[in-house]
């Protein structure tokens, strides 16, 4: 033990000072024991008055890297056009800097505003003590549930039609606990943390979500046959909660089988509940089935905060600035945000306009089989807003 701590101190001498840069309340002097448990599972949040003034909401906007800034530009353009009562507070995060100042500031602004819209933030630094910004953000804000709304777009050619799955993912612990160490030289241990309280929170969230949205079935995805204790706990918790919701059918599926079933027979799924890493894999699989990274939007929920982002967490650095990135994902995220804020009128208007562009007019970017540029898609949406505002064009369902 002593050797381990010693070697840790030698490998990353800066660790002692910076490891807590991402923690909300960092005591001045910390033992290694404290440091090892530096990510308390549930963080206590300070209650802050909500940022809604005269019907307008203040929302943090984190453009992030890659295609983020241009997509945010489109969102602002559209919001200005439809007159959405939202004021954005833009926080840019420099991906190259090795300290967490910008990220801390971003987290503070989300705490103040309660709601954020974010692109994917790059973490260029590979130093062990700089945590992934995206993970830091979710952990710090205790956003334990992630929801990915996977619904087929009729206008996008795909192998499977009419898919409608909601993926709910534990967002703060599991494999993403960021607790790794080299116990003996050449042997790395990475901890997967599953807690009863967090499993219960996310399971309850999933069942409540299913109940609220009139869903019939919840499938828990796990690997409890191998990880009998950790995934076992997660599975056990969801089974226990399922008993409280007799109207909702509950089953479970092992992750490997689940991936196979998803690509073969995706229609059997309704609401899916899973731990962190499986969630990451499964959401990317489903995004792939539905037409790639550029369409779906994801929602992070905690008890106090909500952050909306494109569904697959890819930065898209390679296509940045080329005017070919698909803006639909970010626009869908902004629609989710408007609905969360209660601006159903604007959300509905925008949703119908997007639907018309994608499914009726079929103005699509190359990644989903179209030939239009990003700005052409956005222009089409803006044109369609006026059309749908005048005539009640219903949403084309798949």
């Amino acid at each position: 033990m002593a050797l381990r701590l010693l070697s840790k101190a030698r490998v990353v001498p800066e660790l002692r000072n910076v490891a807590f840069a991402s923690s909300a309340a960092a005591p001045a002097e910390l033992s290694d024991f404290d440091m090892q448990h530096k990510t308390p599972v549930i963080r206590k949040q300070q209650l802050i008055p909500k940022a809604q003034y005269g019907g307008r909401h203040a929302v943090t906007m984190l453009p992030g890297g890659g295609i983020g800034p241009e997509c945010m530009g489109y969102v602002r353009e559209i919001f200005k056009y439809i007159g959405a009562p939202v004021d954005f507070e833009v926080v840019d995060i420099d991906p190259t800097v090795d300290n967490d100042d910008d990220v801390q500031y971003a987290i503070t602004t989300i705490k103040r505003n309660g709601v954020g819209l974010k692109g994917n933030i790059e973490t260029k630094s590979e130093a062990a003590y700089v945590t992934s910004r995206n993970v830091a953000l979710r952990n710090e804000l205790d956003m334990y549930a992630y929801v990915l709304n996977c619904k087929s777009f009729a206008g996008v050619p795909t192998r499977h039609k009419d898919i409608d799955i909601q993926i709910i993912r534990q967002n703060t612990e599991g494999e993403y606990a960021m607790l790794e160490h080299e116990s003996v030289r050449g042997v790395i241990e990475s901890m997967k943390v599953v807690t009863a309280s967090n499993s219960e929170r996310v399971a309850r969230f999933a069942f409540e979500f299913a109940k609220k949205n009139g869903r019939k079935k919840v499938t828990t995805v796990h690997k409890a046959n191998i990880m009998k204790l950790s995934d076992g706990l997660f599975l056990e918790t969801s089974r226990r909660l399922a008993k409280e919701y007799p109207d909702i059918e509950h089953n479970d599926m092992i992750i490997d089988n689940c991936c196979m079933q998803l690509v073969a027979k995706p229609h059997q799924f309704d609401v899916m509940l899973m731990t962190n890493l499986y969630g990451s894999i499964v959401s990317n699989v489903v995004c792939g089935i539905l037409g790639g990274a550029g369409l779906l939007s994801g929602r992070n929920y905690g008890d106090h905060y909500a952050v909306f982002e494109p569904g697959t967490r890819n930065t898209g650095t390679a296509i940045a600035g080329k005017n070919i990135a698909n803006p639909i994902a970010m626009i869908n995220a902004s629609i989710d945000m408007l609905e969360h804020l209660g601006h159903h009128f604007h959300a509905d208007l925008l949703r119908r306009a997007v639907n018309k562009t994608v499914n009726v007019d079929r103005i699509l970017t190359p990644d989903v089989g179209g030939s239009s540029s990003s700005s052409e898609v956005v222009d089409s949406i803006i044109d369609n807003i006026e059309t749908v505002a005048k005539n009640e064009i219903p949403i084309v369902l798949a």
Partner: protein, 384 residues
Amino acid sequence: MSLITRNVFRTLVQGSQHVSKGLHTTAVNADKNVCFAPLSISTLQASKEGRIKCTLIPGDGVGPELVYSVQEVFKAANIPVDFESFFFSEVNPTLSAPLEDVVNSIAKNKICIKGILATPDFSHTGELQTLNMKLRNALDLYANVVHVKSLPNVNCRHKDVDCIIIREQTEGEYSALEHESVPGVVECLKIITAAKSERIAKFAFDYAVKMGRKKVTAVHKANIMKLGDGLFLRSCEEIGKLYPRIQFEKMIVDNCTMQMVSNPNQFDVMVTPNLYGNIVDNLASGLVGGAGVVAGASYSAECAVFEQGARHIFSGAVGKNIANPTAMLLCSANLLAHVNLHSYSKMIKGAINKVLSDGKVRTKDLGGQSTTKDFTNAIIHCLT
């Protein structure tokens, strides 16, 4: 254990505060102190043709004349706003629309433009709350924002004044809790709560962020009222910690008023409790040209009421066609910006700037001889 004791104690204290408030408030107010706002839908009311509905309260004194000027300009510029007008007055209670109607209309439309309501110095009925206060309480319009900005060609002692004064206006000295405990001894209660202080502080900082400001000054008198203003100050400090990129400073109200008249340019955003805000608002308005040129607005979470920054009914000018409509027009421009009609807002602001810079048409308060109507016509001519 200590935690439990503390919490139990806190609950008891809060409970007792609540009860005491109920005891002191007058009966009329007790049942009307409801917030209607959260019950309504959250989108701004826009009808099918994209027109926006706005509640209009002409008010007392010169209010109707100024509001008429705004309506004329809106008509000339073809602005898609429909007004829902209410005669609302405390000095004329028989003709006044009921409070509920006005409140429901504002809660529904989310926006309102309001002239000044006269408040008599005495109460016939023993009612302590003024109509203004009742309206604010019913809608929970807790934040009053006055943007004090020097206008072109309005000659004043100080140039380039540009500060924003944010005032808590639902508690503090305006709680309407006064009683005569023994004949000859009147107690007037000033209520400061942590929740409302934090709320207004957060509003001020968020407003500063939105407007790209650098500094927030909390105005207080915590050296004398150590508990009440102390709580306000502490809440501001606490919230200020969430805004590491905005400078926070505090200033005692007496010093603040002195600084304001000698060196107003040092101020950026100011956050104040109720009465101090009222005083500082009026003082600052005086610095840039008086009640006729300063626009303000009151915000709740859901609604925004746009009104003049310094509230004077100017009853001496009623019917004389000499009142300055600049403040009211600026209010209307702010209202348009609030509902995302930025081009119209810029158009009206541009016209005001042009008329003032040309300096040919000035009302009496700015040293000219023009009438309200002349000024309004000049604005309409300058609309582009």
